[in-house]
């Protein structure tokens, strides 16, 4: 009897551990590579591929998503108006979709109706919370358009100089470096002003990025490069003016925004001049362009929340051509060159019991959401909280192969200077210098394989 008892106990323990083991993470081959967003992936490779809701939303969530979708496309007009009232008086564009074409990127021009480039402004030093010091009379962002009868803060002229880069095998690629000149300022700018261009990034998959546990992001950090691979990786901590707390920055091209609410509310406020419950005071307050209307907040609280929900629930397009031999070879090169040192291929999201498709998902965002020194040529030389003038947040690469579809003409990097993925790679320097040099030393065939892999994302 005792024997039987011992045997049963041993069998139970073995069974128990086997079950524990089974519940662990599968090995690499157990996952479908195409599912960039895990369950929140959508199969569409057309120009509409960034604009789909994540699968399995319940009826109520789908309705909220759709209201947010419609609001994202709404054009604002000057106040007072029966619908979409409150544009400006100074602004950058008239709707979310005007900059984020097809929920993706846009065109690197400024001040036109189809422009997607804006400029952050500051003067050296930091404000009381460690953020950039706004310029009196201009604030922290240049509004280069105004409603009729008001003057824009200034205009920005963009010009490009060509720079040739030569591969060891003799092939030459021409890059274009932008220069920004501020003109027609409505009042004089201080001579030491700092200016940083920001091209509107794609807005899909952000619910997943917001749901990555803070500890996971911090585990990628190696601020003092203790492992000696030439890559540091630093979290940005930013002041949340709504919660009045310092929080980990995840969004914005310098990880200067803590969450989607602040990102969306800030865009309404600064880019369109639409006041809301997070930013209830006009961006032009105290300036000569300010309106005297007592209509703030101009955006209904529920609409702001619905647009945040819309952004949170936009699905990630699936990868394409994953079984192609060149793509698979390119994937290996991506790791060998240590592109994956910053562009992290796989991350597990945290818990979100409300939306199953973003809950505990194995995603392939190809970012670590950390800041990295990208060298002098890409530097904006304008610090943003802990981000230095040379540091940028690793851009997620998912969906990058579809930019040509969603945007017509694709543009890459924070200011849209790169016209191809190859140009974007060649701009990499600083912590990415080694990887770039290894890329340049590859044979043409292997360079094309790597590019084909990135196109498949």
């Amino acid at each position: 009897m005792k024997k039987l008892y011992v045997i049963s106990l041993i069998v139970s323990v073995v069974l128990l551990f086997t079950m524990c083991n089974k519940a662990g993470i599968f090995n690499e081959s157990g996952y479908d590579e195409r599912l960039s967003g895990g369950m929140a992936t959508v199969f569409d490779e057309t120009s509409k591929s960034f604009g789909h809701e994540i699968p399995f939303l319940n009826e109520r969530d789908l309705a909220v998503h759709e209201i947010g979708d419609a609001a994202f496309e709404q054009t604002f007009v000057s106040a007072p108006a029966p619908v979409n009232s409150g544009l400006g008086p100074i602004f950058n564009n008239v709707s979310c979709i005007s900059c984020h074409h097809n929920d993706g990127k846009g065109t690197p021009t400024a001040g036109f109706v189809n422009s997607s480039l804006l400029f952050r402004l500051s003067i050296p030093g930091t404000d009381a919370n460690g953020g950039p010091l706004p310029i009196p009379g201009f604030g922290g962002q240049l509004q280069d358009v105004a409603i009729f009868g008001k003057q824009p803060e200034a205009n920005v002229n963009i010009s490009y100089n060509n720079i040739n880069v030569t591969y060891p095998d003799g092939e030459i690629v021409t890059l274009r470096k932008p220069t920004y000149t501020v003109t027609n300022a409505y009042q004089s700018l201080p001579s030491n002003y700092l200016i940083s261009p920001r091209l509107a990034p794609p807005v899909f998959g952000l619910g997943l990025l917001q749901n990555i546990p803070e500890a996971t992001i911090l585990s990628f950090a190696d601020e003092f490069d203790t492992n000696g691979d030439g890559i540091s990786g630093k979290p940005n901590y930013v002041f949340n003016s709504y919660t009045h707390q310092m929080e980990l920055g995840r969004f914005g091209l310098k990880a200067n925004v803590p969450n989607l609410l602040m990102q969306v509310a800030g865009a309404y406020h600064q880019d369109m001049g639409i006041t809301n419950y997070v930013f209830p005071v006009e961006s032009s307050y105290g300036q000569s362009q300010s309106d005297a209307l007592n209509d703030d907040p101009e955006l209904a609280d529920s609409l702001l929340n619905h647009v945040v929900f819309y952004i949170k629930t936009l699905a990630v397009p699936a990868r394409r051509n994953t079984t192609d031999a060149d793509v698979q070879a390119g994937k290996q090169l991506f790791t060998q060159l240590n592109c994956s040192g910053c562009h992290k291929p796989v991350i597990q999201t945290g818990i979100d019991l409300n939306i199953s498709a973003i809950n505990n998902q194995r995603i392939q965002p190809f970012t670590d959401l950390l800041l990295h020194d990208m060298g002098d040529d890409l530097a904006d030389n304008r610090p943003d909280f802990l981000a230095t003038g040379k540091e940028w947040r690793t851009a997620p690469l998912w969906g990058i192969g579809l930019f040509a579809k969603t945007n017509g003409t694709p543009f890459y990097l924070h200011d849209g200077r790169a016209r191809t993925i190859e140009e974007a790679i060649l701009w990499h320097a600083g912590e990415a210098q080694q990887s770039k040099q290894k890329f340049m030393q590859l044979s043409k065939t292997n360079r094309l394989k790597l590019l084909k892999f990135i196109q498949s994302l």
């Binding site: 509409k48 054009t75 074409h101 109706v113």
Partner: protein, 356 residues
């Protein structure tokens, strides 16, 4: 008995041989169809649609100029008719909102809603020049169809010819010239260098710079069909319906909203059938019918049901969202049904059957 068996085997062999031959023919036809449908979508529907739009924009511009020179009620009516005619063509073109029309912002440049009354009043009250060049640099909500609509129709068609001011006249002439220029550029984007988008679609999978595979071009077409279904059913109709807010309804000056919605879905039907007006080309329906006749019947019936359901809305849409809510809801339901079929059956059909 043996003979009978032999005979049976012979007959069976012949039958199987015939089946086989038949399959080959179907396959050949399907292969040819795949190319023909793309060519007919491009030439019969898309390019012809944009050519019609280009002509209608010129006709509107002429009518507006006549109204400017001679502000009679007859000329105002002519201008209104020209606007409605052009609007109908444009809404049908929205059945295929992909390519240059979205990449190069043609859509927002001519069809931004709502109109910015405050800025329009300020602009008209000022002495600022109102040349075509000025209009091109103006904000989107002061350009395109709707400001023209506001000036020539007034609130629900209440405008009289005599009440149009000199500044309004100068504004409407430049607006319609700007619209004419935009439509002409849109037409050229499909037919001329550098984009020549028609060739990109026709040559999909055969040297096209935009569509490496035919399947990609087909999916772009089908996604655009799904998109317009969604925009009408879930957007243009649903938003004012849910909010019960007439102010959100598009095209309120001319009371044209229901026609706009219907024309959008007729545009979708044109794309599916490869037809435009009296011209009949090969459409996606031919591809579907070749392999799955019941799916083709289902899609055609659902498109017709959606289009016909608009007939039940007999008042301006601004009123219908209050007084004919059931009819509005039935149309939205018909559009939702159609959208589901396109997403869950037509799209997989394309992915399965057009892989090159």
């Amino acid at each position: 008995m043996k003979k009978i068996t032999l005979l049976a085997i012979t007959i069976a062999s012949i039958s199987l041989g015939a089946c086989n031959k038949n399959d080959d023919t179907v396959t050949d036809n399907f292969e040819t169809l795949k190319t023909e449908v793309l060519a007919d979508f491009t030439n019969v529907v898309a390019v012809k649609g944009y050519a019609d739009l280009d002509n209608a924009a010129s006709a509107l511009n002429t009518a507006i100029q006549n109204l400017n020179t001679n502000a009679t009620e007859a000329n105002l009516t002519e201008a209104k008719n020209a606007w409605k005619n052009m609007r109908s063509i444009w809404e049908k073109c929205e059945g295929y909102l992909f390519g240059p029309v979205e990449d190069n912002d043609f859509d927002p440049n001519m069809d931004t809603w709502p109109t910015d009354y405050v800025q329009m009043d300020s602009l008209l009250a000022s002495s600022n020049p109102l040349t075509v060049a000025d209009i091109q640099n103006i904000t989107l909500s002061l350009r395109g169809y709707h400001p023209i609509e506001y000036i020539i129709f007034g609130d629900h068609g209440s405008r009289t010819a005599a009440s149009i001011t000199a500044r309004q006249k100068a504004y409407m002439v430049s607006l319609s010239t700007d619209l004419k220029n935009t439509c002409h550029e849109l037409y050229l984007s499909w037919t001329a260098a550098p984009t020549n988008f028609a060739q990109q679609v026709i040559n999909a999978g055969n040297g096209s710079a935009v569509y490496a595979k035919k399947q990609e071009a087909y999916l772009a077409i089908v996604e655009a069909m799904i998109g317009i279904c969604d925009e009408v059913g879930e957007g243009k109709m649903k938003e004012p319906y849910v909010a019960m807010d007439p102010a959100i309804v598009e095209s309120p000056y001319s009371g044209n909203s229901v026609s706009d919605f219907r024309d959008n879905i007729i545009g979708l039907q044109n794309v599916y059938l490869g037809n435009l007006g009296t011209a009949n080309g090969k459409g996606i329906n031919d591809l579907v019918a070749a392999k799955n006749i019941s799916l083709d019947n289902k899609i055609q019936n659902q498109i017709s049901a959606a289009i016909n359901s608009f007939n039940n809305i007999t008042v301006f849409y601004e009123e219908a969202i209050i007084s004919q809510r059931i009819q509005c809801q039935q149309t939205m339901a018909a559009l939702a049904t159609l959208k589901t079929t396109l997403e869950d059956e037509l799209k997989p059909f394309i992915i399965q059957n057009i892989q090159d």
